[in-house]
Assembly symmetry: D2
Homo-oligomer: 239 residues x 4
Amino acid sequence: MVQNDQELDLAGGVVPSYFSDTKDQLSFPMYKTLEEAIIEQKPDVIVDFTIPEVVKQNAEIAIRMGVRLIIGTTGLTQEEIAHLDRLAKEYNIGGLIAPNFAIGAVLMMKFASMASKYISHVEIIELHHDQKLDAPSGTAIKTAELIAQERKEIKQGNTDEKESIEGARGGEFHGFRIHSVRLPGLVAHQEVIFGDQGQTLTIRHDSINRESFMPGVNLAIKKIQSISGIIYGLEHILD
Amino acid sequence: MVQNDQELDLAGGVVPSYFSDTKDQLSFPMYKTLEEAIIEQKPDVIVDFTIPEVVKQNAEIAIRMGVRLIIGTTGLTQEEIAHLDRLAKEYNIGGLIAPNFAIGAVLMMKFASMASKYISHVEIIELHHDQKLDAPSGTAIKTAELIAQERKEIKQGNTDEKESIEGARGGEFHGFRIHSVRLPGLVAHQEVIFGDQGQTLTIRHDSINRESFMPGVNLAIKKIQSISGIIYGLEHILD
Amino acid sequence: MVQNDQELDLAGGVVPSYFSDTKDQLSFPMYKTLEEAIIEQKPDVIVDFTIPEVVKQNAEIAIRMGVRLIIGTTGLTQEEIAHLDRLAKEYNIGGLIAPNFAIGAVLMMKFASMASKYISHVEIIELHHDQKLDAPSGTAIKTAELIAQERKEIKQGNTDEKESIEGARGGEFHGFRIHSVRLPGLVAHQEVIFGDQGQTLTIRHDSINRESFMPGVNLAIKKIQSISGIIYGLEHILD
Amino acid sequence: MVQNDQELDLAGGVVPSYFSDTKDQLSFPMYKTLEEAIIEQKPDVIVDFTIPEVVKQNAEIAIRMGVRLIIGTTGLTQEEIAHLDRLAKEYNIGGLIAPNFAIGAVLMMKFASMASKYISHVEIIELHHDQKLDAPSGTAIKTAELIAQERKEIKQGNTDEKESIEGARGGEFHGFRIHSVRLPGLVAHQEVIFGDQGQTLTIRHDSINRESFMPGVNLAIKKIQSISGIIYGLEHILD
């Protein structure tokens, strides 16, 4: 992604277990530690998609060494994020931490939140591959929370409605319903349907692979240049 | 519908409470009883969309007077249908009784039944206006029964899947799931989604008003000419 | 709509040809002229869904008599709207003129405009009943214009793409495509699909009848209370 | 696929350039030529997804050596297929040649063909990744041909309809329209929409990767056991 964007330069990579081998023909330098990479390359931004065990330490190193940071790793607590925010402001450094970098998913949530101010009747259908363990998906729950904050709370549906098969009407969340579909051949999809007199408005996101995070990371790298402190959530850099 | 089809002639109508008024400018004759209409007009077919209380009697009158019949009225028991079938064969008369004349809905069920022979993973999402009382809809249950007859019975989804909101995974029917969405702005819609490796097949029917029955009635009128005995279900005259 | 909302009172109606008849059992007063209705009822707002020939005059009467106005009638020129705006500011009166009061459609356009800042690849599919004369629909063209204002202009698709059937790739508008589907059984539907690496974002509006304008008129009546001058377009009162 | 199916055994593979290496830990034998593999393993069926240059020769070898064959390789002419059919009947061997093994796609085409007998108004929307060269897709054209064979030929849409942007109404094929959407984030999708009074019926296939061919190959392997001669097209073994 970085190498395909003329506005960006790939300064280098960090892999702790990196073992230089003559067979590798990389077009950029590799380092075993983040400090080493920062000292040698003086990058503008680091992008961290690592693991919960090291992300906090990486973030502190970047901030203290004056490098902006984009973090897609999950596992940071609210306290840790608040701490990194204070540290970043102290060093006048900007950073973005986000649980989801798929721009389409983030826009879906933003639009769902906006629409729920004007249309109170809504249901969410999320569809994932059949090996997924949890229902509803994390994205569906987050979307539902955003909707619940804006929507006039009502209990939807006919007050006398009856389920002849239990669960048919889906899971209830603050008066509206969430439905989870699981099938092979699906990847990660979500549809938010708003209904009003004589009309429906549907916002749908379909994700078919991990590449869907790339445009969001690209946008974050560019927007972070003019920010001080830590922003949580890609939605806050979409106007 | 009849008057818009050059292959058909509208012989007349029957309304028990009919009161002839000079203001009426009907282009076809009206009768107060079915017998009267049949005697005067000698129609090829009668179409009965009346009420449960009179449909059986109407059917017997038609058969005994040698007129083919199309019935969209619900309420006939299996015994009554069997009786009408014997009577119709005795008089060498054809008839069709169907709970649903929406050709699209009937094809949706037929295709869902056929697809379930080849793809075992399936879920049904039905969507109706928010005043509907029952969930799932009658069409969804009928579709599910047809699928269950053909499909290799398996329990779908991850065996360890967990619902963090009860009902999110929908209602279970023979190992697969049915989801009922209720929103203002919807009328009557159903989606059957089949999932297999790397692909999904979706069959969807959208009905926006009562007119959706007309093409099915039209087809039935034409097909019934060459049939003896009573057929139950529009699907049996779709090859 | 007004009578079903406890926050609103229906002050009266205006029908030039109104002829009072003892058979009418209206629960609100009727007038033959707008002036008469305003003098007697002193309404907060008038709602005008009349005809191009009288809308300008109605608007002037309302403003000069100190009554806010909501106008769904088409036919006003940009000059006439500018004139009404000056007049409304002079009298410190608020008014809203909108070509489309379907909140869902207006939100669809707003979201499409917003999304096109972040995702440059987009196509529009609009679907209408098969008696519609023009293609693309007015809503599709307006949506396309809004997108074109925000989107980074690129020519989409493979530069070497070939149509083996002319027109298959749809109508081109500033480098992206619009497709018009016409079928019986459809009413008025539109889908805006954005595509990015590994993901698509779809915004869809389905309208099945005229009632879809009511929630927008309701919202406009409430929001107009705190505005001075004329606003053109429902989107400007959706935050 | 073969190894995950308890009803099937993987007899071996053929790779002309195969070079046995101690590093390989294959659980099945590999051969450099088809003859060698057949002589040693005496398989029930061979599956050929090779290249146009060798497929005809492979097919002849299999038939003459008494082995059933499933061919997914394109490039055989109608004459070559007819020749293979005669040869297969002579040796009392069954074979299936198909351009598309995605069961979902084949069912979509079959259902579209069936529906077009009853509903004459139809449009096709096919959606593919934006690097695709041809529009409409091969699958869309094949679907359109199947529809045209069954459908009552009519020119759809308002006879006075006007395109304000040329191509908006799509490509015309025997009186109905085909629309080709090209966006990044899409893979291979097709929607066939039938419209009738008050209703629409939609049949949609979504394919996200090559694995979608596997269930079709699996079905073919099983069905071919009871066939003599060459069948062209997976649809002919779906009842």
